[in-house]
Amino acid sequence: MSALRPTPFHLRTAERNARNAWVERNGFTLARDYGDAEAEALAARFSVVMADISWRWRVMLEGTGAPDAVARLFTKDARRLPAGSAVKALWLNDAAAVRGAGLLARLGDARFLLAAAAPDRDWIFDAAARFDVRADDSISAQGGVALIGPFAGQVLRVAGLDPALEPLAFRTDDWRGLSVTLSRWGEHGGYEVWCEAEDAPIVWDRLFKAGAASGIRTAGLAAMDLLDLERGVARPGRDYRPASDGHGAVPHPASLSLERLIDETHLDFNGRAAWLATRAKVGTSLKGLVFDSEIPAPHSAVMKGGRVVGRTFSSVYSPALRRAIALAQLDERAHAPGPSLFVTLPMDAEAPFERHANVHVQDLPFLPNPDPILP
């Protein structure tokens, strides 16, 4: 068990983490919040926030066999991607169970970058070795910050970076002596700035200064997870346990409503046959639930009448909606007419008895991203 590593921005985040609230993710130590996670999440809708996302796992896949490797591994065909753009995809095991989800970016003819919320070293490195592709995740040592909010583009412009970038595209710029990569890979309509580890404090300071006029504030991991949930994004590791071997059949992509990340016209991806065979038979899907309560119920059973018809994944109180929300995996029975759904709220010191809250299924996302404001 190795010790937790600080991210390249740790110097700056530690200054602002007055309450010393740290959490671990992917082996890194990250600020949970900078005083008020709810206010940070709201600020991402009102103005702009900056979050340290250096914990995301990044792997470089290089070599003459890289296009084939990538075609085999991922559920979308990246061979036809032009350099400078990216695609979101899953990688499945042999039984079509989800091992991971991430973003695949093409840096060059035979150079790809995979960025994912949770690492899956064994599978990716093993596959890469078979195709004679060099897989290198030392790039994870590089730092990255996300700028999220309607004024994100404005901040970049003031800072001296050109915000004109297509969604899922990226480019490398020389930013007054620093080499940074600007991308739009996130789900929240914002930008990410990736840089060398030693440049991290400079990048942070420049962006912060540029954002002063737009009311920029820092957002911790709690706020980012909250935004993910309000957007309806489920992440492996945090929300569900991905498959850890090659033969297990859970979790099935359809049960997580991830069908849109699978391109059936792509003939080569691993697990395709199993996918085609099983996709119609899966009875569960991922839905959004809004609670008639402010108290969330993560990893709890969802009930209808007296029967369990699903389970919640992550559940948080959304300050924008003023109610608790959850992502939940629900059977078909949940959607049949009948009594309404409810969950049992967790007990705590203030309420040491069983309480229920009614829940309703809602289409995702719970809240759309705010439109960017560029003068």
Binding site: A39, A320, P375
Partner: protein, 492 residues
């Protein structure tokens, strides 16, 4: 002549909420608003090119969560950011209210009491008329105690007590030492709903959208001149241009005095009602100054304040100053030390000002509706504006140089714009005898019903309208639905 089941006078928060409920229930509903747009006091004004602010207040009384959910306001674009922290700025320093201090706990306690009062008041609504009202007040000592005393009992220090008083009495004219002032803690001037993205106008848009989606009709631009009655029951309203709207029920969201004394001829109302309404006291004390700034000065005052709380700043040093302000207000004069609440809404919501610039809103308390030496002339307004900016400059050096434009609203302006008697945004003086007996109602019937059959009141003069937003409209709608379903008569 158009035929409706319910007519709602005033398209403010309460009127729109009532419209949503009634329209969803299938009743033909029309909302009559004399302004060209819906919202009333929920307005975002572009007071200078590129600079916007919520005109009359930055916050409103909180909307209870179940009303918020059922109106689906978040997805219609009404995003609230609670302003829990507040800062007291003095020339010798600044301080926030520690979240664990006695004073902060008192605020939480007050909110819980207010919620309890609301719940009781709402619970009574659906019941049919009863001969005797049971007053739903949880505790008498809050009704008769002074704010300073309650703070003292809770263990707050002098400074905390002063901070608490400044926050609760923001925009009002009241004396924290006078018995009965503890009620202001239940309906504090700040710390209510939080700011809305895009200013309160965004909330008005969301509510109007909800009402239209539910099927309500709107009439803009015409004032209601008269309420017609037939056989002792309300029959409809007459608009200023003479057109008539037939309705079986009318909900008035105007303040108490206007609801009765301007919509009816007083000789046709029961004398007890007239004397009660006449005796209802208004206590207008709010003035608003909207300021467009070239940017926020880097001085410690502003940036320190914003960094520490990002929200509400009070410049009203101590309870003696508040007492002096009240005395001056009573005599129709402006006090030595103006009680001010300052916000920079563009710091949290940058779309309210151009890039690099800032919007500042100042809420002044204890500003009389009419000065002892006459009406509010231009010179007097300019003088007040200059005094206010000077007072703010004293604690935030460098601000004065950055002022690009200002707009000042004094009580007569608010009265004219919103149709509120005396320009009292609270719909009446917040005093124990008015709180407990005149709002919501007495005389044997229960608000939102009135002694006039078919007329219902909602809005700022009612108690639930003061404690929370949209609730009095919901209550009035529920009363209308309950009564109409029980009605055995039918209008021809």
């Amino acid at each position: 002549m158009e035929d409706f089941d319910a007519a709602i006078i005033g398209a403010g928060a309460d009127g729109l909420a009532a419209a949503v409920l009634l329209a969803r229930a299938g009743l033909r509903t029309i909302v009559v608003e004399r302004d060209a747009r819906a919202g009333g006091r929920l307005e975002t004004r572009e007071f200078h090119p590129g600079f916007r602010a919520s005109t009359y207040a930055d916050e409103i009384a909180p909307i209870p969560r179940d009303v918020f959910w059922s109106l689906d306001l978040a997805r219609r674009g009404a995003l609230f950011m609670p302003q829990r922290q507040s800062l007291a700025l003095r020339s010798d320093g600044q301080e926030t209210l520690d979240a664990r201090s006695a004073a902060a706990l008192l605020v939480g306690d007050a909110r819980r009491r207010a919620d309890a009062v609301l719940a009781r008041a709402l619970g009574e609504v659906a019941k049919p008329r009863a001969a005797k009202t049971a007053l739903p007040w949880p505790s008498e000592d809050w009704g008769g105690a002074s704010l300073s005393e309650i703070a003292d009992r809770a263990g707050a220090t002098q400074r905390e007590s002063a901070h608490l008083a400044a926050a609760a009495l923001s925009g009002r004219a009241a004396d924290p030492d006078l018995p009965g002032s503890a009620l202001h803690l239940l309906v504090p001037g700040t710390g209510g709903s939080g700011i809305v993205r895009g200013g309160l106008g965004a909330l008005a848009t969301a509510l109007e959208e909800a009402a239209r989606e539910a099927g309500a009709t709107f009439s803009f631009g015409l004032e209601v001149a008269d309420i017609r009655r037939a056989r002792g029951r309300v029959r409809g309203v007459t608009l200023a241009d003479g057109s008539e709207i037939v309705a079986r029920a009318v909900i008035s969201t105007l303040d108490l005095k206007r609801s009765f004394l301007s919509l009816f001829s007083w000789t046709t109302l029961p004398p007890k009602l007239v004397s009660r309404v006449n005796g209802f006291r208004m206590a207008a004390g709010t003035a608003r100054l909207l300021v467009a700034l070239d940017g926020l000065p880097e001085s410690m005052g502003v940036s320190g304040a914003l960094r520490r709380c990002g929200g509400t700043m009070h410049i009203a040093p101590d309870t003696a100053a508040l007492h002096g302000a009240f005395t001056a207000w009573r005599n129709g004069a402006l006090p030595e030390a103006l009680p001010l609440t300052v916000r920079f809404p563009s710091a949290s919501d940058p779309q309210l000002a151009p890039v690099g610039a800032a919007t500042m809103t100042v809420t002044l308390g204890a500003v009389p509706h009419r000065l002892f030496d006459g009406a509010w002339t231009h010179e007097k307004r300019d003088a007040l504006r200059d005094r206010t900016l000077k007072a703010i400059e004293a604690v935030m050096p460098g601000l004065g140089d950055r002022v690009r434009a200002t707009e000042l609203l004094v009580p007569p302006d608010i009265e004219e714009a919103l149709g509120l008697t005396d320009g009292d945004l609270d719909g009446g003086e917040i005093a124990p005898d008015q709180f407990f007996t005149t709002r919501p109602w007495i005389e044997g019937s229960r608000a939102p019903r009135t002694p006039i059959a078919g007329l219902y009141v909602a809005g700022p003069s009612t108690l639930s309208g003061l404690l929370a937003s949209c609730v009095s409209g919901v209550a009035a709608a529920r009363a209308v639905m309950a009564d109409l379903s029980r009605a055995r008569w039918w209008l021809p």
